[in-house]
């Protein structure tokens, strides 16, 4: 084993700045209006061979005046269908799906404000020691003009009522009404399963955001 290096002090984190209105240039160049990279990251991560139930997640992101935002970067991070993250720190005894990275990136549409993610429904993941298993959920991260530090939240599934009622994160949100802002309703459309997850940045229906 290599000796632990001497660490003189902690380095302060680099300060966050807004992603600005043109975040698409760097992160979703096609949406900005041009082709540059051969391989583009996308919001469609349920490719062939990925195990699990195909789902569509879509929604709109509203500002404090109730207007639909049309320039927001949306990224999601999730476990695979068995409930395991594709990451070395996840040592749960569950199957790894090498074809599923678990990360999606998209932007809200410039006209409709709708974002869409094609993925699979994640399995439930172990909670912290001494806490209950976490209900199936997807971590969200939002960045845009007007957002100084990326906003983290979680989406849960309305048809996982039993698991949600035991979820250690939902349960420490003091007001039950606020928990509901994280639970996405399910519907069927053209044979596809759609979960609608609208996010309210501010106001009466404000979504719960986390300091993670």
């Amino acid at each position: 084993m290599t000796p632990t290096p001497f660490i003189p002090s902690y380095l302060p984190e680099t300060a966050s700045q807004t992603a600005g209105p043109y975040v698409h240039i760097g992160l979703i160049p096609k949406q900005a209006g041009f082709e540059i990279f051969e391989n583009n990251f996308s919001g469609d991560i349920a490719g062939p061979g990925v195990a699990g139930e195909r789902i569509i997640i879509e929604g709109r992101i509203f500002d404090g005046a109730g207007h639909v935002t049309k320039d927001v970067l949306v990224e999601t991070w999730q476990a695979n269908a068995a409930g395991r993250y594709n990451h070395p720190s996840d040592t749960q005894d569950k199957a790894l799906d090498q074809r599923f990275r678990g990360w999606a990136r998209t932007g809200t549409d410039f006209v409709t404000g709708l974002y869409t993610i094609h993925t699979i429904k994640p399995g439930s993941v172990a909670g912290r020691k001494g806490r209950k298993i976490m209900a199936p959920h997807i971590s969200f991260w939002l960045a845009s003009r007007g957002i100084n530090v990326g906003l983290a939240t979680r989406m849960y599934f309305c048809d996982e009522e039993a698991a949600n009622s035991e979820d250690p994160v939902l349960n420490i949100i003091e007001q039950p009404e606020r928990r509901k802002t994280l639970i996405a309703p399910r519907s069927e459309r053209d044979g596809a399963t759609v979960y609608t997850f609208d996010i309210h940045l501010q106001g009466d229906r404000e979504t719960v955001f986390f300091d993670i």
Partner: protein, 241 residues
Amino acid sequence: MTPEYEFHQRDRDIHPPALTPVYKTSVLRSPRIPLFSLQNSLSEVTGPAFSHDELGPLDNDLVLNYARDGKPIGEQTIVHGHVLDGNGRPVRNTLVEVWQANAGGRYRHRNDTYIAPIDPNFGGCGRMLTDDNGYYFFRTVKPGAYPFRNRVNSWRPAHIHFSVFGSGFAQRLITQMYFEGDPLIPHDSIIATIPDKSAAERLIARLDLNASLPLECLAYRFDIVLRGSRQTLFENKLQGG
């Protein structure tokens, strides 16, 4: 299971608060209810990994990666530095993405209508993975200043946007890099959202003549620090559950 390590809590005093009226768009896009603090679980300490075969050979060369019938106009510039964590350790093999305006301050984006022209040979985005030392570098042209609708006469200093991942989703960071000596920096409403003066200073890349290529290209140095982590001491690490 408790993860084998957790990230140090984010020091919110060095980051801009969500609501910063000096930057008007933040007023309607900032939550009014405090963030709900969450201890790290597996969902926060894990995050996506990327590999070299996903990137193209010119992805970190903005001088060439959109060149059509010549090179872009502007001051050829190398930007380089290290991505470290709060413990001073290199953040290896992490994805760094950058985007910027061209030399005249115009973005290649369908919503940008600034009168400065598009450069037909400049796209304005690039990406790279850090090496084993956490080191990254890219070549570009220095971006121009850019007006934006905040106050009537607000101008952004020359800047390059950065997006960095780290090893866990909780380290995800987007920021902006500025250039040493730019007289617009003290007037900028976006930098002004940062309450800590030294934190704002650290976003200013320093001229680095040692890395400049004589008769060809200037260089700036910009180091990025992501959140550090600690081992979870006195916890039942191996058994999980």
